[in-house]
Symmetry: C2
Subunit: 213 residues, 2 copies
């Protein structure tokens, strides 16, 4: 699989954090295929703690007016952004655990909330679980994740929030693949989705970021 | 498996962070068996971001005099402490990825440093991998992890550092099972191991923390 370094196809003027993230995507991201962006150098394997903390501060600003009692994410790549954001809100973070579908039947439904999720990136079905002890009907939850594409993981987490009766405050996302349907579908259903870099088009020739309002 | 809430069998006087961690272990930890301590409410599933940030600040203080260029940990539970510590040092964090042994042969050794690790907790062998791009011979690495028991994960990470030719600065550990051999073996070999809570004995009746020097 040929991996090409993307270049900016449009120039946008944004806040510092959004600009820093876009610049990082352009300088270090690798478009591995039309829908796979590799950002292992700062978000998915090596973590740029300075940039990630800036992103967390931006999430904090965008949701500071809301009452947030818990932050929820999915292991493993979501944990870094979630914990940096949780530190600012001074609220607990819960990371949903992923387990293979075949283990699902062992999982006691008295103890865990569960959701079946299909991963397009890995082309497999898995189950995400959160222990019931940690999510209550009184919780107001901010979901944090590194990527939003078709919205499968987000929908799985929302299913779990519904099971708990917890309120969804919104989603804080580092990179949204705007050419996939997840983000816009969630926005249309009235959910506050804050994505710091929205990619509207991505080919080996380059990346087009969505202009802000 | 009966799970009993531990009680303090000895009283110790420590720094604030160590004391806060010990109190948390005593109030929320569950001794699931003679060598399994469940701390899902604040370290392994739900994350107490205030306490974890305190622990990160303590790691920072203990290693601030050393030159640290990278922090390395293993997914998933190590990521939270590593990224909070990395924020303070303003250095990148790398989290080693775990993959099943059978996938190991697919892994190109030109691209990844690898180490085979046996997990006593999960009773299985796995391979940890770090992309060669992110670790250099010039790196001075602080290893951060939530638990240290037999030292299998730490030894795996050290094997990877050796492959990269990187220097090991030391280990920052939240909870060490002092009754298992890992921590003391590493200390005997001259490695700086800073564990904030060392459990010397752990039964369903209670927990004995190691006294500090």
């Amino acid at each position: 699989m040929a991996i090409t370094k993307p270049v900016a196809l449009n120039q946008t003027k944004k806040g510092d954090t959004m600009e820093a993230l876009r610049r990082k995507i352009l300088s270090e991201g690798r478009v591995a295929s039309d829908d796979v962006l590799k950002v292992d150098s700062f978000l998915n394997h090596q973590l740029d703690t300075v940039l990630l903390n800036q992103i967390a501060e931006e999430f904090y600003q965008r949701f500071a007016s809301e009452q947030v009692t818990k932050i929820v994410t999915v292991e493993a790549s979501g944990i870094a952004l979630a914990v940096l954001t949780g530190r600012l809100f001074e609220v607990p973070v819960i990371f949903a655990k992923k387990q293979p579908q075949q283990k699902a039947s062992d999982c006691q439904s008295e103890t865990f909330y569960t959701a079946d999720v299909y991963s397009y990136t890995k082309a497999c079905q898995y189950q995400m679980v959160i222990a019931k002890d940690y999510l209550q009907a009184t919780d107001c939850v901010l979901l944090i994740d590194d990527f939003l594409a078709n919205g499968e993981a987000a929908t799985g987490l929302m299913t779990i929030l519904e099971q708990a009766g917890a309120k969804l405050v919104g989603l804080g996302i580092a990179i949204e693949k705007g050419f996939q349907k997840g983000g816009d579908q969630l926005r249309r259903s009235g959910i506050k989705v804050e994505s710091l870099a929205i990619i509207d088009r991505m080919t080996k020739e380059g990346i087009v970021f969505r202009e802000n309002d």
